[in-house]
């Protein structure tokens, strides 16, 4: 069953940056995009398991720090010419309190 969890505040994550966390033993990377949204991915590149939380965030995509694979933060889809997919998790930001929730 899906669980919704409060994981932190918007101010915890710098814009165009990411923080990592563990929920129910899943390593997750939370990204704070320039448009204010927060997106969550499993923190593991399908290529060699690189930590996506340490990568560079460009628009709606993150570049894996190990071999520069580019992954779409909305869909989790690896961009061409590489192939693969990363699990995404639903997120929600309370605009007033800045609380970030994630659904696992």
């Amino acid at each position: 069953m899906a669980t919704k969890v409060l994981v932190g505040k918007l101010s915890d994550i710098d814009v165009k940056s990411s923080r990592k966390l563990k929920v129910q033993n899943i390593d997750i990377a939370l990204f704070h995009l320039s448009d204010g949204s927060v997106l969550a991915l499993e923190n593991k590149c399908p290529h060699k398991g690189g930590l996506l939380s340490e990568g560079m965030v460009c628009g709606g995509k993150v570049h894996c720090p190990l071999h520069d694979w580019k992954i779409d933060l909305h869909s989790g889809k690896v961009q061409e010419p590489d192939e693969g997919c990363v699990t995404t998790f639903e997120t929600e930001v309370d605009q007033q309190s800045g609380d970030i929730y994630i659904t696992i």
Partner: protein
């Protein structure tokens, strides 16, 4: 429509799966496909096994079709099962477990087996082949506990194996029965040059040796030769050749010679049974290289799809071998006979050799060593078989090959058949490249590479890709396509820097907006470059943007493959103190650092540190960052010099420390390594550094733009000066010139190849210019701070190192 026909592929290797891939494109719904393979892996690129050994690739990298590919294409994949029976009357295939499959058509792609010399002792532990993933694993495992390895066979495969073993840290001796190496691909002069080169890399050779027996109790101890001599060894790799694997075909009553005999349509002697790849013998030849196998696969795929096709007419093969900087190429019939004439150039100074072989006015073979750039052109001339009379010398000298075709130099690209493999490494055909150009808007070699992977591995086919681009990109490539610094812009580095300067653009975002980036937030290539350029141009005004820094520079530590980091504190000139060493040791113990290692730059590396621990470790160390992670000054390596050394002519340690203290924290286009040697014996290896200073009696030589990494480059001598102050003046000026002119991520060694030594000498010859450069670098340096300290003291920065906590389950 009736039911789908059942197609079974026996053998899950490169040639067979390639055929299926092709077939799926031509007739996706015609067959219900089952693939049965013996190895427990999906299809992988066997040619890349040597890269796995050499450490450049891992298993994942060499998988061509992953598990999902089979699933997505509705293919039933059976791995780990050996087909033991093929009944061509009942049309069934049976595996060793007894599983039985019915077929309408079946393809034999059983490949080949390594040929093991049947000498006494060949069954001992530690005697292996070099053929599959398991062999590679054995080699890696062996290298952990044993030292000596022997490779029997001095052919392509044997040398690749030996090279891999050297990389694994073993001593590798190659035993060859002939008196020179690779006789199937090279002639004697080229083979001798290759041998010399490989010897300089540490490989040993025993030529003219016939292996007689292997001794040792249980495990191999020594290899004995027919002449009575012996070689002590802990591992023997047999790489004497391969044999088509025809066992199954033979027991099924299919005609077999050396390989499974096929006609021009890859049909065997029995109806509805086909063979492709290394197990097949076509017109008397069983091929062992990739390109012919792919060509066969293309013909078979068309045949199976019911598409009309010309038959397979055999292949002229070429070999391109690259081991650590040694380029070797050969094609066609390069052995001279009574009816051939050869032309050759040998340059022992430059280490190059070229031979072309002419028969009846046609180019029939070629051997290249050292420089193989003409290989693709020569190979295509050999395949075309056109008359080259009167132009032989031009061919030898490599002049105006394009004009040799007469008239339109691009005609050959048009004439090239669609299914011809252009990129042998990745199996990309002309048709795939043309499709990428015409339907996927690829208008540069880079975009073709991104889309198809053509020219992405060895790069040897790049000239052909360029040629195809010219022919098929039409208007888009009528003018040379301008390539920007990355896919986000068409502007070059110089244009961008000029605009930033002219308009005083002070943020990365502003640059992208004003200069019309097509990706609003850029990519991992342009963002860090812009961040560097703006900071270089306006050191006082620009606020460094950490989000546009590469990972290592953002966290001021080197990210490792498992997501941990490494910490290298600054050790000026490689000189430390007992108390600093104690401190490092205590910190390493306290934080249970998994590995402490000396770096090549005379300092200590704490490896395997968790990100959360980084600021704590820095705090306890209380030492400046060694910047071992960034595009910045790394180390200044020094030798002992006149302080202790009996040969030292100058105090290299003081000089080095002075330089390191002056230039530490400097942002540069790419990493910069320095060294100072106290005498011309040059123990600090200053002549392969970005900036190297070598003491001579009464002065210092300043060397620039060396590199000991990817491509070794010895430095060029910039000047000779008398005093330490002059060393500082010239070094400062050189480094600032590099900062102002190089492309981001361009090492000094690449930069100098682009702009030339003369440009640098000219820019630095006037004292005024040097002092102006020096002033600018000093300004920049005066604005830098130790990054570790900044992070320790700033909570906002420090939080990024911690994992988010405060987890609270909200509503269910």
């Amino acid at each position: 429509m009736g039911e789908k026909e059942k197609l079974i592929l026996i053998g899950n290797g490169m040639a067979g799966v390639r055929t299926i891939e092709h077939l799926l494109k031509l007739a996706p719904d015609k067959y219900e496909i089952t693939i049965i393979g013996e190895e427990p892996h999906p299809n992988y690129n066997r040619i890349m096994l040597s890269s796995v050994l050499a450490g450049g690739a891992n298993m994942q990298d060499i998988i061509v079709n992953d598990w999902d590919w089979y699933k997505d294409n509705g293919i039933q994949l059976v791995t780990g099962q050996k087909v033991t029976k093929l009944d061509t009357k009942l049309c069934t295939v049976t595996t060793h477990t007894g599983a039985q499959y019915q077929y309408d058509r079946v393809i034999l792609a059983t490949g080949s087996n390594p040929f093991m010399l049947p000498i006494p002792g060949a069954d001992k532990e530690g005697v292996i082949a070099f053929r599959d993933i398991r062999d590679c694993e054995t080699m890696m495992e062996t290298s952990k506990t044993y030292k000596k390895a022997a490779v029997i066979g001095g052919g392509l495969l044997g040398l690749e194996a030996a090279r891999g073993l050297l990389h694994l840290g073993m001593e590798a001796t190659v035993i060859h029965i002939n008196d020179y190496l690779m006789e199937r691909q090279l002639d004697e002069p080229a083979a001798r040059m290759l041998q010399r080169e490989l010897e300089s890399q540490g490989m040993k050779f025993l030529l003219n040796k016939q292996s007689a027996s292997i001794t040792g109790r249980g495990r191999v101890k020594a290899l004995q030769f027919a002449d009575g001599s012996e070689l002590k060894t802990d591992l023997i790799v047999m790489a004497v050749g391969i044999r088509p694997n025809t066992e199954l075909a033979k027991s099924s009553g299919i005609e077999v010679n050396r390989g499974v005999v096929v006609n021009d349509y890859m049909e065997t002697s029995v109806a509805n049974v086909y063979a492709v790849g290394e197990c097949a013998e076509h017109r008397g030849i069983a091929y062992g290289l990739v390109a012919p196998l792919y060509e066969q696969g293309a013909v078979l795929a068309k045949r199976l799809a019911g598409v009309e096709t010309a038959g397979y007419a055999g292949s002229v093969t070429s070999t391109k071998l690259k081991v650590s900087g040694v380029d070797v190429f050969s094609a066609g019939n390069f052995t001279e006979t009574a009816s051939t004439k050869a032309l050759r150039i040998q340059d022992d100074l430059g280490g190059t050799y070229k031979k072309i072989v002419i028969e009846n006015g046609k180019l029939v073979g070629a051997v290249l060593f050292g420089d193989t750039t003409d290989g693709t052109e020569l190979f295509s001339l050999i395949k075309k078989g056109e008359n080259v009379e009167g132009r032989e010398k031009e061919l030898l000298l490599g002049i105006s090959l394009d004009q040799l075709g007469g008239g339109n130099p691009l005609a050959k690209y048009e004439a090239m058949p669609d299914d011809e493999i252009v990129c042998g490494c990745n199996g990309v055909s002309k048709a795939t490249i043309v499709e990428a150009i015409q339907t996927k808007d690829c208008n540069s070699v880079a975009s073709i590479k991104a889309c198809t992977k053509a020219s992405g591995s060895c790069g040897g086919c790049k000239p052909i890709v360029e040629g195809l681009l010219k022919v098929y990109a039409g208007d888009a490539a009528a003018e040379p396509v301008k390539e920007g610094i990355c896919g986000c812009t068409t502007l070059t580095r110089d244009e961008i820097v000029a605009e930033i300067q002219r308009m005083r653009l002070l943020t990365v975002k502003e640059v992208m907006n004003v200069l019309g980036w097509n990706e609003p937030e850029g990519c991992s290539k342009c963002r860090p470059s812009l961040n560097y350029y703006i900071g270089m141009l306006f050191p006082e005004e620009y606020v460094d943007e950490k989000e546009s820094r590469i990972t290592n520079e953002r966290f001021h530590a080197n990210i490792q493959k498992d997501g941990t980091f490494s910490v290298v504190p600054r050790v000026y000139g490689g000189v430390t103190t007992p108390s600093d060493l104690k401190k490092i040791a205590e910190v390493a113990e306290k934080f249970e650092v998994p590995m402490v290692k000396f770096t090549g730059g005379q300092r200590l590396d704490l490896l395997g540190v968790k990100k959360e621990d980084l600021p704590k470790i820095w705090e306890e160390l209380d030492m400046p960052s060694g910047h071992a992670y960034g595009k910045t000054l790394r180390t200044v390596k020094t030798c002992v010099g006149s302080t202790f050394c009996r040969f030292g002519t100058q105090d290299s340690i003081s000089m080095g420390i002075r330089m390191e203290k002056a230039f530490e924290r400097l942002n540069t286009p790419a990493k910069v390594k320095l060294a100072v040697s106290g005498c011309p014996r040059n123990c600090a290896e200053a002549t392969i550094k970005d900036l190297g200073v070598v003491a001579i009696d009464g002065g210092w030589e300043i060397h620039i733009a060396g590199n000991g990494g990817v491509k070794v480059r010895a430095t060029d001598l910039l000047c000779v000066v008398k005093t330490e102050d002059e060393v500082m003046e010239w070094s400062s000026a050189f480094l600032q010139l590099y900062r102002e002119h190089a492309v981001w991520n361009e090492r000094t060694s690449q930069w100098i190849e682009r702009v030339g030594l003369d440009f640098i000498k000219k820019a630095l010859e006037n004292k005024e210019d040097r002092l102006a450069l020096k002033q600018r670098i000093e300004k920049t340096l005066s604005l830098t701070n130790d990054p570790w300290k900044e992070i320790i003291e700033n909570k906002e920065l420090r939080k990024n190192f911690e994992q988010l906590t405060g987890l609270e389950p909200a509503t269910k």
